[in-house]
């Protein structure tokens, strides 16, 4: 071993402080989920729920859609936390795929019905813009929390990690919006809600390398060890 590396190792060991091992990905996802659901519940206490909520809750299609959206968010959160643990199987990143397909599928029959009823030219795609601030409000804080938690891990796949984190926050945020926002046109939901979630994922993926990179992680570790 060269002298320089020997000295480097001595310095690393000398500066090292005790660290608490990170909890397993599903446990970290559970913590994030509990905080996120508490936050969404708090927002729902302040914001009035949609006027037809009690009747909507008895519709199987609405229930399946919300469970699938929630499952997509939960699976994406577990997958995101798994991607920052070295040595974890990369197939974890595919975990949200199945619930996401069910989420899309839950909107399928409604879309087909609306297509037959209105035709391609007259599909009802007008969307009220007032729900946009709620999407941001419901998704932003969970996304920030997710980013802070993910930055404690290793930035092995920054783009994928960020996309999964974005999917988790946006998927669960979407659930909150559906409870507040009285819109049930499947085509509109597919385009604006699922499409919006996809755009947020793509945006998150594009900035992933700025959020999760070795330079920042090494600098943060040195500040802690100092």
């Amino acid at each position: 071993m060269t002298n320089s590396t020997e000295q480097f190792i001595r310095q690393l060991a000398q500066d090292a402080r005790p660290v608490r091992p990170l909890a397993r990905p599903h446990a970290r996802a559970a913590i994030w989920l509990a905080l996120t659901i508490a936050y969404i519940a708090l927002v729902l206490l302040v914001m009035p729920a949609r006027h037809d909520l009690s009747s909507t809750l008895s519709e199987p299609s609405f229930i399946i859609e919300q469970i699938a959206a929630l499952a997509t968010g939960v699976a994406a959160a577990v997958a995101a936390f798994a991607t920052v643990v070295p040595g974890q199987n990369r197939k974890w990143a595919l975990l949200p795929l199945f619930p996401f397909v069910i989420w899309l599928g839950s909107l399928g029959p409604g879309c087909m019905q609306e297509l037959r009823r209105f035709g391609l030219q007259a599909l009802p795609l007008q969307h009220s813009l007032w729900c946009f601030p709620f999407i941001v409000m419901l998704g932003a804080l969970p996304a920030i929390g997710m980013t802070v938690m993910l930055r404690r891990g290793a930035p092995l796949t920054p783009h994928i990690t960020a996309a999964l984190g974005g999917l988790a926050a946006a998927g669960i945020g979407n659930l909150g919006v559906r409870i507040i926002h009285p819109e049930d046109v499947s085509v509109m939901l597919l385009v604006w809600h699922v499409g919006g979630v996809m755009i947020l994922c793509a945006l998150a993926a594009s900035v992933g390398v700025y959020l999760f990179n070795w330079r920042a992680i090494v600098a943060a570790s040195q500040n802690t060890d100092r």
Binding site: L22, V84, P86, G87, S221, N223
Partner: protein, 198 residues
């Protein structure tokens, strides 16, 4: 770019079982500096072997820099090691990622380099705005540098102000390139804080 296909076998040594390294890391996580030194000493030859195999075209100094980068990364994310899981796949994933990261940086760097056949001996045109450039508060910066601990102050003076290379600065200060990197990181963070507080 060289494709990186590392297998567990490349980092497995039958004389040192995986759980032994895992136990050392567990002790290191709880603050045992001796166990941590032993762990780093044991994994360094394996890391070096991999770096040499996949970066055989690099000079010895550059290989050692890369080994130290990987060690620094291992150190930075040591909290991500789960003592109930095998150690080697964890180390392997970090090494592979840092090697690929280094290759990407190398590719980006060379993509922006311009090969110049003949360099002009004199300047062909005047320098722009040299007298109008806005400077920060240089006196405050000088005071902030003076307030740094000696090793950080020397690192800044040699590397940032003196524009010495890491190797030259390490030789001049009788320290290592890795130690200088750490000192510079810390000094820059401290200066940012100090200058914000001005």
């Amino acid at each position: 770019m060289t494709a990186i296909f590392l297998t567990d076998l490349e980092m497995t040594d039958s004389a040192t079982p995986d759980n032994h390294l895992g136990q050392l890391m567990q002790a290191a996580q709880s603050g045992d500096a001796e166990a941590y030194t032993q762990l780093l000493n044991e994994i360094t030859p394996r890391i070096r072997q991999i770096v040499r195999r996949y970066r055989y075209f690099m000079a010895a100094d550059a290989i050692e820099d890369l080994v130290q980068d990987i060690l620094l990364s291992v150190h930075s994310v040591r909290a991500t090691y789960d003592p109930s899981r095998p150690f080697m796949p964890w180390l392997l994933a970090i090494s592979r990622n840092r090697l690929a990261d280094g290759a990407r940086r190398y590719a980006r760097g060379t993509a922006h380099e311009v090969s110049v056949e003949s360099v002009e001996v004199t300047f062909s045109r005047g320098r722009a705005n040299t007298t109008l450039e806005a400077y920060g508060d240089s006196q405050a910066l000088e005071q902030a540098i003076a307030a740094l601990p000696p090793i950080q102050r020397d690192a800044i003076r040699m590397l940032k102000l003196g524009e010495m290379s890491l190797k030259e600065a390490a030789d001049a200060s009788n320290t290592t390139v890795g130690a200088l990197k750490i000192a510079t990181h810390r000094a820059m963070a401290a200066l940012r804080k100090l200058m914000k507080g001005q």
